[in-house]
Every structure is written in structure tokens, then in C-alpha cells.
Subunit: 279 residues, 2 copies
């Protein structure tokens, strides 16, 4: 089987390393020649090009570009590849992408490997990046079962934990455990920065320790990624933020009403429930 | 100098280990005989008793009980000790304690060593627990300079980073970097648990990774500690939660209004500002 990869960054490069090591032929496309060369040198691809036409003969193509380039890439691929070619992406939100790309290609299977490192780019690509990590596939009502099966088998080769659900459930679930936490975390930093008493702010900076470090980490990360998530999962993110605000409203009421029993009960519920979220 | 310690848990026991190693005589009081024995065996105290009367001759007494027992302990100590005896506590909120205890004792100096481990109790006590960690002293207008100086010197022996501020500024600063993050974190878990689609909740549990692990850690911790913090720092916690809610309101408006520039700007501000909070 010939596998194409568009976008030879951390995810695309790591996919190439794994799939080649399983005996598949991997064809890679990057916009930059230098990246193509590194990908070849590192053994992430058999062939690489800056031209999408390289992928004409691919049976399956993984689109590993940034979120906003996924649909345009599918559009560019359509005139180049056969109608049997299976297209799959690795974007972190799925509803908007599935809606657009399923219309463009009859064999589109949305996907989201939930693996990563702090580093980006082909230099950071590594073997077995996906082993043990969740990999979600999000077929729609029109996704052919045969196309889904092919992508499932490839995910199996990566030793990833496969989950299959609708694009809507995916986006809602990742809003809860990834996108909402990011913006809740961002809000914590913003709240500190808006304190008008500069002595309090300076003291807060000196006293902050592991609790603040952990809760502020994802809110102090890559701004472009945060904006991309907000743009692409806008509705589910806004929905989860509104639900979060309701929870906070209840909490503020309980604190101001000195309803300590209610607060203890919800903290106990949290303590009991949190292990279910740790894999 | 004779130093008394009431409450021989992690903090009291660790204080005893350090102060004895600096040549001071340490007298410890615990409600439990078994804890007194362990404290003696571990070298955290020279003498220990279940009776506060042991501290009659102490020059300085550290009150290392849970928050709610601090003021009652001061009240019990007053008839036993000389009016020159300096009392200091290690509670994590300071305004309410300073107000009550400064009235009870002319030589009360509020304090907050910001060190800890995941473990509790005398068994977890360790030497040099406070080295490099912040230790805040919160004198009021009526705190004698001589009493403050004595406690400052003892904090110096611990190699802690000393900060001095008013109880109000302390409580506001720790609300921002410790208490607000705790309840913001608790709210994230609660928001997930309130999702009515059980398939979404189950998927969220499977997909949660390091982002959720970090942001939910302190909100899934000890419920009693959370309630104690909310009770004792009620006003500042509620104030910071209201400010946080305003920040979230702005964020929701920006997301729903697709004001991506504003979101990118605040995420960039966060990314630039967060290192100031990491010591």
C-alpha cells in the first residue's frame, strides 16, 4: 500500500516513521524543499516533493497540515487523485472539517491522533509517538465502511488506542477536556494581570507555586494554536464555557452564602471522579 | 532560645527538625501521644507533650494546627504564657486570623510558609522543607517591631524567601495564585460531570490527557482543605472568582463575536506574562 502524507511536521513525520517501519511505502509532501530533504534523511518518507502531484498513486493520504489548511488541501487533491483514494486528516476539531471535506471527497475519514510533544516540526518527529495514545476516527453517515476500515487498520499499526464517534461528540468531548481547560487556564492569567493593585500582582508573582504553574500552563502556551482551536470549535467551546460559567455562578453563590456543605460535597465528587479522567 | 510548636504535622515537624538542627531547643505539643513519640524519635522536638503547659517557658511559639484551630489555640495559650511570648502561626489565610489573634495576644505575628509535599503528618516531616520557598509574614499596625524581628530571624534560619506584607495583600495575592486556581480547577471537573450526554462524558474521560491532568489536579484534591480555604478567605476568594467570571464573559463574547484578534492578543499577553509567575 502507498500512503501519502501532506505536511511533514511532528505528526506527519512521526506517522511516516511508523508506517515505513511497518513496511508501507510513504510519499510525503511539504511546502518547503528543506523539510522534504530532512524527512527523507530521517527515514520518514520514501519520496518527498513540494508538489502534491507526487500523491497521484497514493491509496490513502493523511492530511497533516495546520487546521485551516485541511479543507483547501483536500480541494487541491481532488483533481489529482482517483475517486477511490481515501483521505484522512489529523485535525484537533472535526465537525467543520468533516462537513466540508465529506462534500469534497466521497472517501474522507476524519481523524484526530491525540499525541504530541512540546517540540514542533520534522526535527521533533519520532517513532512510536502514537503508541498508547488515543486516536479518534469520526465517520459521518456518508463515510463508506470500507474507507473507515482501511484507516482503522492503519491506526492499528500505530498501536494507538482507537475510538470511533461522530464529529459532534468528538468536538464536545475535546471541548470539555482540552479546549475549555485551555481557556479557563488563560482566564486565570488574565485575571491576575487585571489586578489594579500592583503590589498585590508583584506579590502574587513571587508566591505562585506548583498549583498556579499547573493550572496556567496550557493558558500560557502557543497563541496561534489557541486561536485556531477557538475558531474551529467555536460553538462547542462557547457552549462549554457557558456551562463552566454556570458552575462558577453556583460556586460563588455557595461561597457568599457560606454553604460549606454544598462546597464540600462537590469537592468530594471531584476527588472521586478525577481518576476516571487519568489514563 | 526555646521554641514551642503546637501541631506536629508536616509543617510543625519540619520546622522542629530545622530549628533543632540550628541549635535551638524545641518543645512540641500534639493532641496525640503517638505523634509526640514519633516527633521525639525523629528528632523534630527535644520534648513533647499533649499538654500546652509544656510551652510555658517558650520564647516563641509556632502554631501549626489546621486553620480553624489557630485562634482557639492562641486563646488557650494566653493564660499559660508570659505576655512577652511571641506567637506566630502558619495558616494559609491571614486577615481573619490576624484580626482575631492580634486582639488575643500583644505579640502575635501572622505567618505563611508556602511549602509542602503531597504527604501529610509527622511521618512526612523533612529537613529543609522551607529552603528556597516563600515565607510570608503579615504584621498589622499593632504588631511590635521587636516581635516581627524575632520571627524574621527564625525564618532566616530556615533559608526561606521572606516576604512581608499586610494580611489583606497576602490574602488577595494568594486568592489569585492559589485559591482561585483551586476553584477554577474544581469547576472544570464539575462542568464535565454535569454533561447530560453520557457517551460524551465517557469519551471525554478516555481522551483526557496532560492538559486536563494539570488543570484539574488541584480541583480534585483534598475537599477539607478546599472548604477551609473558602471559609477563611471567603471575601477575597469570592472577589477573585467574580473578576475571573468577568474575564470569562469577555472571552465568551469574543468567541461568539469571532473577534479572533482580541483573543490572540490576550493569549499573547498570557504567554509573555506567565514566566513572571514561575520562580
Amino acid at each position: 500500500m502507498k500512503v501519502g502524507i501532506v505536511g511533514l511536521g511532528l505528526i506527519g513525520g512521526s506517522l511516516g516513521l511508523d508506517l515505513r517501519s511497518r513496511g508501507l511505502e510513504v510519499l510525503g509532501v511539504s511546502r518547503r524543499r528543506s523539510v522534504c530533504e530532512i524527512a527523507r534523511d530521517r527515514g520518514a518518507v520514501d519520496e518527498a516533493s513540494v508538489d502534491l502531484a507526487l500523491l497521484q498513486k497514493a491509496d490513502v493520504i493523511f492530511i497533516c497540515t495546520p487546521l485551516s489548511a485541511i479543507a483547501p488541501t483536500v480541494q487541491q487533491l481532488i483533481p489529482l487523485v482517483s475517486s477511490n483514494t481515501i483521505l484522512t486528516d489529523v485535525g484537533s476539531v472535526k465537525q467543520s472539517i468533516a462537513a466540508t471535506c465529506s462534500k469534497l471527497s466521497p472517501n474522507f475519514v476524519g481523524g484526530h491522533p491525540m499525541a504530541g510533544t512540546a517540540e514542533q516540526g520534522i526535527e521533533a518527529a519520532q517513532a512510536n509517538l502514537f503508541a498508547g495514545a488515543p486516536y479518534v476516527l469520526t465517520p459521518t453517515e456518508t463515510t463508506p465502511a470500507t474507507a473507515l476500515k482501511v484507516v482503522e487498520d492503519l491506526v492499528g499499526l500505530l498501536d494507538a488506542r482507537l475510538y470511533i464517534c461522530s464529529p459532534a461528540r468528538h468536538d464536545r468531548a475535546v471541548a470539555f477536556i482540552s479546549h475549555l481547560p485551555l481557556f479557563a487556564s488563560a482566564g486565570l492569567i488574565q485575571t491576575c494581570l487585571r489586578e489594579s493593585d500592583s503590589e498585590v500582582l508583584q506579590l502574587a508573582q513571587k508566591l505562585a507555586s506548583s498549583g498556579f504553574r499547573d493550572t496556567s500552563r496550557i493558558g500560557g502556551g502557543n497563541p496561534e494554536l489557541g486561536v485556531a482551536i477557538a475558531r474551529h470549535n467555536r460553538l462547542e467551546l462557547a457552549r462549554s464555557l457557558r456551562q463552566y460559567r454556570q458552575v462558577l455562578d453556583t460556586l460563588i453563590e455557595e461561597i457568599e452564602g457560606e454553604n460549606w456543605d454544598a462546597i464540600e460535597q462537590s469537592l468530594q465528587e471531584n476527588q472521586g471522579a478525577r481518576p476516571d479522567f487519568l489514563n
